[in-house]
Amino acid sequence: MRLTHSPLSPEATAVLSATRFSRRTLVRGAMASGALVTTGGLLSACGTEGTSQSAESCVSDDTSSTDKKLAFSNWPQYMDVDEKDESKHPTLLAFQQSTGIQVTYTEDVNDNDEFFGKVQNQLSGCQPTDRDIFVLTDWMAARLIRLGWLQKLTKANLPNVQANLLRSLRARPFDKNDEYAVPWQSGLTGIAYNGSVTGEVRTIDELLTRADLKGKVTCLTEMRDTMGLMLLSNGHDPSNFTEAQFDDALEKLKRAVASGQIRKFTGNDYSTDLAKGDIAACVAWSGDVIQLSAEDEKIKFVAPESGLMLWSDNMLVPNKAAHKANAEKLIDYYYDPGVAAELAAYVNYICPVQGAQEKITDIDPELAENPLIFPDDATLGKTKVFMALDEAQERSYSTKFQQAIGA
């Protein structure tokens, strides 16, 4: 879901996103073959055990006080870098200097499903993943919470988060008491269009039916993003909907697939196609569009009248992570408005930290005005967070959705 500000040429960006994709897909292939081995567990002709854990069944020890270390897994290009040396992360270096905690920062999250495959065996067996924090999107965080694979955070260790987390990101449906997940960055899902190919696209209905867009529209493979917008355009609430409403919304999507209006369903890779003009308009993530429009001002992001989806990528502390207190220090550090502003100046998604907007004025006043990085209350009022699904719902909805998108 992330793609951030980069000073690269479109060609270089294309190559980068190509390699990112290749890594993702290759690892997926490897995961699929790994899944063959693991789903059976031991050679069991008699089925498998459940994989849920709980605070009682999987106790984690915290060695933070003696072991000043921390392993942090994040998405690529989701952290500020030094202008001279891309491998250095100024905010992270400052954290290491002030706390003495040695952070191992790895950009090994490329895809929620793929990352789930990567850590699923360890976490289902209450084994360490050798990561103290990883960053995953809402719905995957919801699944891990449901499975009992995460450690509860100690609120007393997170004063900045308590004070500065945006109101609209508190008490989210999947983490009602804000105990497990702290947003790293958030983003909006709306419509993007390329002004050199087509005129303004204001609503989802236009996107799905306008004749001049036929075969030049993409939607996202992330069910929550695409279906959230469909539900909104039908006047339903994605944070609280019934199965019949979901089916209605899906029917709308299926009609657009059948008519050839929708060309394909994509991940991050829609951005190059939109820039090239192969795609005229699409369902898009706000951060990508900020980056694209920096290179080509004809590419615009539209907040549909019916509403937008708000999502976050969350910092999570898994079971058996041995440095929970250190992890909490880092989480709280990034909720200092000054630090958050420094990060937001590099990562063009929504900054979830209140007070960062004032601080960023010193770095780049233009960014402080950008409604896609610091949305005003009116915009935030139009956003919805997708409903938390239980396992049966998740399976039924995602099966229906996957069938609609052809897989």
């Binding site: 994709f21 089925g47 498998t48 699923q120 060309r263 192969d278």
Partner: protein, 299 residues
């Protein structure tokens, strides 16, 4: 001296060597056999077991073994179009590979005297880059604003609004391109061994070049044709990258479905059943094909 001293001992040594040679075939089989047991047989049995789990189970609750053979019927009835599509795409791609690859292999083996090695390197050269990068390059080549589509529009093959990317044509072209070397190399190997004197003999017996090709060259190259078509068809039928990058949901092949069942929907029994059905279909087709080609032409 020491050599001489050892001479009398030779006879028992020879005997043990003969004893070794009886064991030798088994020893040679051991590494490969172990490898296949651990990385093929065991996972295959697990996959078979998974495909028979109760589909109402889940990752969270676990799966019960209920010998649910209905999983196969369900998977087949839900996804038979994807199976058909995979076989059709792979079949067309294999045929195209054969039509493109045979003349190429023939030229390299029989005509390219000095440039033979260079041409072979050219055939293999694409393997120096990743499969994905090559497919992504096709995305650029076939792009709506690219020169290929522009040219086809200008000469009227494509309508003014026509496109290649995101169509079945693009997927089949991608498959053809990506698997072409698998066709060319076995064809080359069999054509390279072709004895030129046989063609001279055919010529001496007043066979026209066409007749000589049909009666001599083609039958002798059949092992290459069989190997090439198998090496092309089998991976092409299971491929999902080309459909994902060059196609749309309407072009998704069975590989895309299995990928999504394993990683996105987490429906392991169905994913396993789909994998087994694909394996069974391909095995059956290969068996029939090799038997036919084998009895009629190869031997």
């Amino acid at each position: 001296m020491s050599v001489l001293a050892h001479l009398p001992a030779e006879t028992p040594a020879q005997q043990t060597r003969r004893g070794h040679s009886r064991l030798l075939p088994y020893l040679l089989l051991l590494p490969g056999g172990l490898w296949l047991t651990v990385f093929f047989a065991v996972p295959a049995v697990q996959l078979a077991a998974t495909s028979l789990y109760d589909p109402s189970g889940s990752l969270q609750e676990g799966y019960a073994m209920t010998w649910e053979f209905g999983n196969y019927a369900d998977a087949l009835s839900a996804y038979w179009p994807h199976f058909v599509r995979s076989l059709v795409y792979a079949g067309i791609a294999t045929l195209l590979c054969l039509l493109l690859g045979y003349p190429l292999a023939y030229a390299i083996a029989q005509k390219a005297t000095r440039f033979k090695n260079l041409m072979l390197v050219c055939v293999i050269a694409p393997f120096f880059t990743s499969f994905l990068v090559r497919t992504l390059a096709w995305k650029t080549i076939l792009s709506d604003n690219g020169f290929v589509v522009g040219l086809l529009r200008d000469v009227g093959i494509l309508g003014s609004d026509g496109r290649l990317l995101a169509t079945s044509v693009a997927v089949v072209l991608g498959l053809t391109y990506n698997f072409l070397p698998f066709m060319v190399l076995p064809l080359y190997a069999s054509l390279d061994r072709l004895d030129g004197r046989l063609l001279e003999a055919a010529n001496d017996l007043y066979a026209s070049p066409v007749r000589a090709f049909a009666k001599v060259t083609l039958p002798l190259s059949m092992p290459g044709v069989v190997a090439g078509t198998l090496l092309t068809f089998i991976p092409a039928a299971g491929d999902y990258i080309n459909a994902e990058l060059l196609g749309t949901p309407n072009q998704y092949m069975i590989g895309n479905v299995i990928d999504s069942a394993f990683l996105v929907r987490l429906d392991y029994p169905q994913a396993a059943a789909l994998s087994f059905i694909l394996m069974a279909i391909i095995l059956a087709m290969v068996f029939v094909y090799v038997r036919r080609a084998g009895t009629d032409e190869v031997l």
